[in-house]
Subunit: 145 residues, 2 copies
Amino acid sequence: MFERILVAVDGSEGSRKALRLASNLQQTCGSELLILTVFRHHSLLEASMSMVRPDDPESLDDSMRSYAKEVAEEAKVIAAEVGASNVRAFVKAGQPARTIVRFGEEHKADLIIVGSRGQGDVQGFLLGSVSHKVTSLASIPVMVV
Amino acid sequence: MFERILVAVDGSEGSRKALRLASNLQQTCGSELLILTVFRHHSLLEASMSMVRPDDPESLDDSMRSYAKEVAEEAKVIAAEVGASNVRAFVKAGQPARTIVRFGEEHKADLIIVGSRGQGDVQGFLLGSVSHKVTSLASIPVMVV
């Protein structure tokens, strides 16, 4: 019933749980599964680090992109282990929630799956702020796992 | 893959959309489908109506329960029209989000489906406050439609 499922992963345990559920649902529905890892540009990261200014913003960007690629690759391995097929993985830079929703629109996904709490969501404090933003912004169904 | 899906309906167009998706997913997964309509007790309603105090709180409770039953019955008809089977409908009084989550736990649901915006969620203002609360409170996956 879902033709194209988008699952967002960030390397957190919550996002791995979301990925496993997405991989099972992919098989049940015979969908295509798109895996997306979003990393923040140094400018966005800087804004969240108050007075800290990295010496070399470009190399910081490279490190974050490289880490995001590792997360996406690990996600492909996990999806295959769970038995998913028809899987593609992507890496994008930007604000997590907006980037996930925009990517879903561009790729005509009909379901977005996210972990309830990802990296950077301090337990009990920001409580899944990315997943909340995604459900607010998306015009398609969003599953919070 | 989902054994027992709980869908919350309140008579809004958003919740009907959630119900139709839940009914399709029920068939894809061969799940049991539980439909729940929650109405507020007069004491909760009073609190949200500032100075207005109903003359006869008990008859107000009866009216709300009766309306909730109609919504639940209509939901069963819609689910059947979409082709769902193995469907049961329930009516409960209480705070919507907490009551939905507690009902899901008690009935061992493994997925909750809610509309992104229900009755009482003023468009663009409270923006799906019930669905946000459900995703925050639930320990099982929640799909916001």
